[in-house]
């Protein structure tokens, strides 16, 4: 058993391009971007679509569920052990994130997860994921 503990998360770098993402996170909502020109979702949010370069990108509510694509538990050289992971959202995009509120030894590739929002040190909350 290696229960996760809350750790100090530095405030993210908020800018005019990603402000709506963090405003939504403060309300407990996960947003991703969809390109109107080519139809692809992408994350992290950009003003120009990273696939077709169109500026016709719009915010969409993400379902907030997905599965773990890969993960790694950091134990050495950190004040509190934590799990960094890529989560593939149901919408198909990969999110670089942490797996939280769980037994770190039990985290597995393919595990189903859902979004939770964790406070940061002086900034807006950030989305992270926990096993369902």
């Amino acid at each position: 058993m290696n229960p996760s503990q809350d750790r100090k998360i530095p405030a993210p770098a908020v800018n005019p391009e990603n402000q709506p993402y963090f405003d939504a996170a403060a309300e407990g909502k996960l947003l991703i971007k969809k390109c109107i020109s080519c139809g692809e979702f992408h994350h992290y949010p950009r003003a120009l679509c990273p696939f077709c370069f169109s500026d016709q990108t719009e915010w969409r509510d993400a379902k907030g569920t997905g599965s773990i694509y890969t993960h790694s538990v950091l134990r050495r050289g950190v004040p509190v052990p934590y799990c960094i992971a890529y989560v593939t959202l149901d919408e198909g995009v990969n999110v670089l994130t942490n797996i939280v509120d769980c037994d770190l030894d039990a985290v597995k590739i393919g595990m189903k997860v859902r979004v939770v929002f964790k406070p940061t040190d002086g900034g807006p909350p950030v989305p992270m994921f926990t096993p369902v």
């Binding site: 391009e17 120009l48 077709c52 370069f53």
Partner: protein
């Protein structure tokens, strides 16, 4: 050994804003890249070389390539302050002459005040 004629500049673009308080730095890089590619009549997929300097966010070309969705064979980030971009042109020409890349995108950027 001269590389004269081995590479040429095919597109250029100047961002129309002067005070871009509603855009991120990375976004400005993307918009000038898009404008230059449109001027050249090329697509983003044609780009296989990328150059930027310390004004680009994150790790420079690595972060920018990820942000822009580029598939690169060559990247460089020589930083000599405001003259970086002139050196990038020389390095891009050398890379093209050596066959390291075919289409080099060079993000020439001045620090914008975001007050």
């Amino acid at each position: 050994m001269s590389i004269k004629g081995k590479a040429c500049i095919v597109g250029a673009y100047e961002h129309p804003t002067r005070k871009a308080g509603d855009k991120s730095v990375a976004q400005l890089h993307a918009e000038v890249a898009k404008g230059a590619l449109e001027d050249a009549g090329l697509a983003k997929q044609d780009v296989d070389g990328y150059f930027c300097a310390g004004d680009a966010p994150g790790l420079g070309p690595l972060s920018m390539a990820h942000y822009l969705g580029l598939s690169l064979r060559h990247m460089a980030s020589t930083d000599t302050g405001g003259s970086s971009y002139l050196i990038h042109v020389a390095h891009a020409a050398q890379a093209i002459a050596a066959g390291k890349c075919n289409v080099a995108q060079e993000n020439d950027f001045c620090e914008f005040s975001q007050e």
